[in-house]
Subunit: 346 residues, 2 copies
C-alpha cells in the first residue's frame, strides 16, 4: 500500500524590522490557503518566520529584543499566532513553524514546532542545536553580524523523531500487522532541523536512526559569505548567492539520500531590511537525493509535492540498511571530541 | 603561503576474470606515466585495482579465491606489484591503491595503502569498514551477487588520518611556527575510504575531526540496482547508470563540503567480464563541494587537478569550525545503536 502525503514548503519573502506582525501573519495565512488549494496536508514555514531575521542586528535593549520572541509557549493560544492555527484547523492542515522562543524562565531558543490538526495540539518541539555565528558583534562595521550565539541558548531537546498521527488514512497501526511487515509502515515518522543544522550530518543521522521518513527544515540563509582567508575565487554577489543555494541543495539532497528520507525546506528569502539578501531555494527532496519540487523566486511562494513515504524503503532496506552495515565501534571520534585534533606535525 | 599539490585519479577501464595480471599492471604503469606527465605528485588507483571485482562471483574453491588476493603484505616487494612502485620511484610520485589483502593469519580485507615516494615506504593502511552486500549468494540466478561480506572481514584499523611527509616543499614543520599559525599548515593531512564507505558520513567525519584536507576513495560501483520494493520509477539501464553516477558525485561533493576537504575518487569502470557494468565518474572535489575535474569516459583515464590545500581553511575556520559549533552531547545515538529503532507505532 502506498503511504501518500501531500506536503508543502511555504517560502516567505522578506520580513522587515518595521514589518507589522499582523501583516506578516496575513501573508502566512494566504500561503496556508494556497497550499490547501494544492491539497497539502502539511505546510512547513521558515525559521523565525514571524519577524525579520533579527540575529543580524546588535539589539541594544532587552525591550526591543523581546519584541522578536514569542513569550507564550502555547502558539495556538497566543494572539501573535492564533489566527494561523485557527486557519489550519479550518483547512485541516498540519503546520510546522519556526519562531524565537522565550521560556517562562527567560531562556531564548531558536525553536520549531509541529502542530497536528487531527490532535489539535503541538505534538513535537525542536530547539536548534547548531547555532552559527558569534556571541559578540564583529568590530568591522561593514561585517554582517550573525548573533545567534548571543540571543539563543543551544537546543536542549536533542534530535527526537516523532510519529504524526492519523495524517494518512488507513495506515497500519500497532497490533495490526506482524513485526516482519512493520518496517516502513504506520504513521509517518518525522524530524525537525533548523537552518544551519542541515549542514551537519549528525542531526540527520540521529533522525535516520529513528527511521525518519521526512525531515523538515526552515532557514534564513545569507547569500553572501566573506572570504576570510583570501583563498576563494573572487565572486560577484550573484555568484555568491548561487553558491549559497548550491550548498543548501547539496546538503538537503545528500543527507536525504544518506538517510533514505524525504526532506522539505522552507526559506525566508529576499532583501530583508533593504540590505540583507537571503537565498530562496525552498525545496522538497526524495530519499534518492533528487530535488522533486523547488521555489522559482524569492517571494512568498508555495512549493508542493505529493510523496509516497514507502519510497524510503529501497534505501532503508538495502544500501542504507543501518543494522547490517553501520559499524559503531569505528565512529567513536564523533562523540569523543567536538573539535579537530590534528595528527602531530611531522 | 599556498600549499599546492598536483593530484590525479587513475581511472581503470574493465579488468576481466581472464585478464592477465601483468597486462593490468602494464596499464596501471601507463596511467602512472601519463599522470606524471601532467606533473602529478600523487596518483590514486581504484579499489581492488589489480583484478576484476571478484565479489560479484560465487567462487567455489579456496585456490581460485586466493588468486584475487595479495598474500604479501609488502607490495613494494611483491612480484604482483613491485613494477608499479619501481615506476613510482622513478617518476617521484606517491601512490594510493586498493587491493584484496590476505594476512599471514589468513584473514581477508578490502584494503588500500598510501605509499610515500619520499619515505620509500607505505606510510598508511586502511581496511574497508562499510562492506556492502551479503555473506550468502542470492537464490535468484539473475541477481548480481555482492559477496564482500563473504570474502572480507570488516576493517579493523578505524579511520586514521595521516600526514604525508615532504610532498609539498617548504611547508612549515613542527617548531617552525607559533601554535596560532599552525592550523591548516604543515604537511598535508589525508584519509582513505573505499567505495561504499563514501556513502556513510561517519567515516568522513572521523577524518574531518583529524583535520583531513584530502580524502582518497577508490571504487567499483555497479550501474544497476534492482528495485526491491517496486517503489522506484522504471529506469532504462542508462538512466540507472546516470543515477548511480549522480549518487556517487553527490556524496563526494557534500561530504567534502561538510568536512572542508578535497576528495579524489577513482573508479574501476566499464563492462567487466562482458556482463557487469561499472560506473565511471572518477572526480576531484573541492572543500566547497564543487567537482573541479572528472573523467570523460569509462576507460583508462587520468583525472588531474592542481589544488591548494589552504582552500580548506575557509570552511574549517568559519561555517565548519567544529570546536565552536559541534554539540557532541546531542549525537549519542550515532554510536549507541547501529540500526534503526523506530518510535513505537502510535
Amino acid at each position: 500500500m502506498a503511504r501518500t502525503l501531500k506536503v508543502a514548503a511555504a517560502q516567505l519573502g522578506p520580513v522587515h524590522l518595521n514589518s507589522k506582525r499582523e501583516e506578516t501573519l496575513a501573508r502566512m495565512i494566504t500561503l496556508l490557503q494556497q497550499a490547501a488549494e494544492f491539497g497539502a496536508q502539511l505546510v512547513l514555514f521558515p525559521e523565525c518566520a514571524l519577524t525579520t531575521f533579527f540575529p543580524r542586528h546588535l539589539i541594544k535593549t532587552q525591550e526591543e529584543l523581546d519584541t522578536y520572541f514569542e513569550h507564550n509557549d502555547d502558539l495556538l493560544d497566543s494572539p501573535n499566532t492564533k489566527p494561523l492555527f485557527d486557519e489550519a484547523k479550518k483547512l485541516d492542515v498540519d503546520i510546522s513553524i519556526g519562531f524565537a522562543e522565550r521560556t517562562k524562565e527567560g531562556t531564548g531558543y531558536n525553536t520549531s514546532i509541529y502542530y497536528s490538526v487531527k490532535k489539535n495540539e503541538v505534538i513535537a518541539k525542536y530547539r536548534k542545536v547548531h547555532l552559527p555565528g558569534t556571541k559578540e558583534p564583529f568590530e568591522n562595521p561593514d561585517a554582517v553580524n550573525q548573533l545567534e550565539k548571543r540571543y539563543f541558548e543551544i537546543g536542549n531537546l536533542g534530535f527526537k523523531a516523532f510519529r504524526v498521527p492519523d495524517i494518512i488514512p488507513g495506515v497500519l497501526k500497532k497490533g495490526d500487522e506482524s513485526k516482519a511487515e512493520r518496517n516502513g509502515l504506520g504513521d509517518p515518522i518525522m524530524g525537525m532541523l533548523i537552518c544551519n543544522d542541515r549542514r551537519w550530518p549528525e542531526g540527520w543521522r540521529c533522525y535516520g536512526l529513528q527511521g525518519a521518513e521526512v525531515v523538515l527544515c526552515g532557514y534564513n540563509t545569507a547569500g553572501f559569505a566573506p572570504d576570510l582567508w583570501g583563498t576563494q575565487k573572487p565572486m560577484t554577489p550573484q555568484q555568491a548567492e548561487d553558491d549559497a543555494v548550491f550548498h543548501h541543495k547539496l546538503v538537503m539532497q545528500s543527507n536525504s539520500y544518506m538517510n533514505s528520507c524525504f526532506s522539505i525546506s522552507a526559506a525566508k528569502a529576499g532583501l530583508e531590511d533593504g540590505k540583507y539578501d537571503l537565498i530562496g531555494g525552498s525545496c522538497i527532496t526524495s530519499p534518492e537525493g533528487h530535488v522533486i519540487a523547488e521555489a522559482k523566486g524569492k517571494d512568498d511562494e508555495i512549493v508542493f509535492a505529493e510523496i509516497d513515504l514507502n519510497e524510503c524503503r529501497q534505501g532503508m532496506e538495502k544500501t542504507f540498511d543501518f543494522a547490517r552495515h553501520r559499524r559503531t565501534e569505528a565512529y567513536g571520534l564523533i562523540v569523543e571530541r567536538a573539535g579537530v585534533v590534528e595528527p602531530e606535525l611531522l
